[in-house]
């Protein structure tokens, strides 16, 4: 029950700060709009570039919204309030992971088919991309969240947070660009989940000191 409450709290927060759900999806579309300006309008190349740009914009949109997982709650004191309810920290961290993934990656997944049609990608490829994103994006969210939990409380952490996180995304992007590696991505996500859960819980335990 508390699990459900914490998730709905985070989703409500995302919904109320009304840019949140729209942000990720519009970010993806805006990046895709830039592509024709860079590469011209030779349509045959677009579908090859499409997968790559999807993954890059997912990585960037996760990086840009990382503040909302722990940092904003930490800065305004809500994290103190949540921790004092004495729910297990693992539960709190899980809720944060899941709600952030729902608020960020689900909108992206919903936009991919439309964006794919604009780029004349065929349906089978779009389906493969969606499966890949579905399997891989949770892992990327978990890693990002864990690193931002580790840097809680340090001022101006944004820049080196990015420097730490981007290399960790490389495996996801390598396998994400490959059409039939949904299972590998799922495996990566599960590994990321275990490590991120452990790190985030540990850093929440430490942050007050």
């Amino acid at each position: 029950m508390q699990f459900y409450n914490l998730i709905s709290r985070d989703l409500k927060l995302a919904f109320y700060s009304n840019t949140n759900f729209l942000f990720a999806a519009s970010f993806l579309i805006l990046i895709l709009i830039l592509i024709p300006f860079v590469f011209g309008t030779n349509i045959s190349e677009f579908s090859i570039l499409f997968t790559g740009f999807i993954w890059i914009s997912i990585a960037l949109s996760i990086l840009l919204t990382l503040d909302r997982v722990f940092t904003s709650d930490y800065e305004d004191g809500n994290l103190d309030t949540i921790i004092l309810t004495q729910q297990p920290l693992e539960l709190i961290v899980c809720c944060k992971f899941i709600s952030h993934w729902i608020a960020n990656c689900i909108p992206i997944i919903m936009v991919i088919p439309i964006a794919g049609l604009l780029f004349e990608v065929n349906m089978q490829d779009i389906l493969n991309i969606i499966i890949n994103v579905f399997a891989g994006s949770p892992g990327m969210v978990f890693i990002g969240a864990a690193i931002s939990a580790l840097t809680l409380g340090s001022k101006r952490a944004d820049i080196y947070k990015t420097i730490i996180i981007i290399p960790l995304y490389i495996p996801f992007i390598i396998f994400g660009a490959n059409q039939e590696s949904g299972l590998v991505l799922l495996g990566l996500s599960l590994i990321a989940f275990i490590f991120s859960l452990f790190t985030s819980t540990y850093s929440l335990r430490l942050y007050a000191e």
């Binding site: 914490l6 409500k12 927060l13 004191g77 103190d80 309030t81 004092l84 004495q86």
Partner: protein
């Protein structure tokens, strides 16, 4: 049931530096303890230690004869209102309250509390359009949202005007009468009624 908070020989260490040591006191139901002290004398550290945020300390903190270092679940009966207001700046007061209700897992009707704090007219205003005093007042809402046994207030009087301080005093009195304990830190000249006084300057290691 009456409650009792006993602190024995408490020593708080942060980043290898002793903040205060040999601090002992006991607070019972229906009592308010004022924590005084210079800036940096460890008032906030003491309150945060009691609230369990700082888990490494020497000595013991007992709540109803249970060690809080072992029985951490007892801390869910504690409310800590710190200097941060726990408010989302871009949301309205109403929305902030809804988020707190989810955190505290309660669906109580809030209109009574709104009347008590006299903030009903602020309900649809954005937090960043409010004054610091109003924000402080709204952050006190968390104390009343669900029943707690121990209130830990860190500098609650900052930004509040005399009327609001009077109001807070009444709220604390009411809380104490229902077997509650209140600890608050302050450096103001105006004080709420208190039963016990602890001066951090006597324990601080500078």
């Amino acid at each position: 049931m009456s409650n009792k908070l006993i602190i024995q020989n408490l020593e708080c260490v942060r980043e290898d530096k002793i903040i205060f040591k040999r601090l002992s006191c006991d607070v019972e139901s229906n009592q308010t303890m004022l924590i005084r002290g210079k800036n940096g004398s460890g008032k906030t550290s003491l309150l945060r230690t009691i609230a369990g945020y700082i888990s490494k300390y020497n000595g013991s903190i007992l709540f109803n004869d249970n060690d809080l270092q072992v029985n951490t679940e007892l801390l869910s009966d504690f409310r800590f209102v710190g200097q941060k207001n726990s408010l989302k700046e871009n949301l309205t007061v109403q929305q902030n309250i809804e988020l707190w209700q989810l955190i505290y897992h309660t669906k109580n009707n809030v209109s009574e509390i709104l009347d008590l704090l006299d903030i009903k007219m602020l309900l649809n205003k954005d937090i960043d359009s409010l004054s610091d005093g109003q924000k402080k007042l709204i952050s006190l809402f968390r104390l009343l949202i669900s029943k707690a046994k121990v209130w830990l207030l860190d500098e609650p009087l900052v930004f509040l005007d005399t009327n609001k301080i009077k109001l807070l005093e009444n709220i604390i009195l009411q809380h104490n009468q229902s077997e509650g304990i209140t600890l608050y830190s302050s450096n103001n000249d105006i004080d709420l009624k208190y039963d016990l006084l602890i001066n951090m300057d006597d324990y601080a290691v500078l």
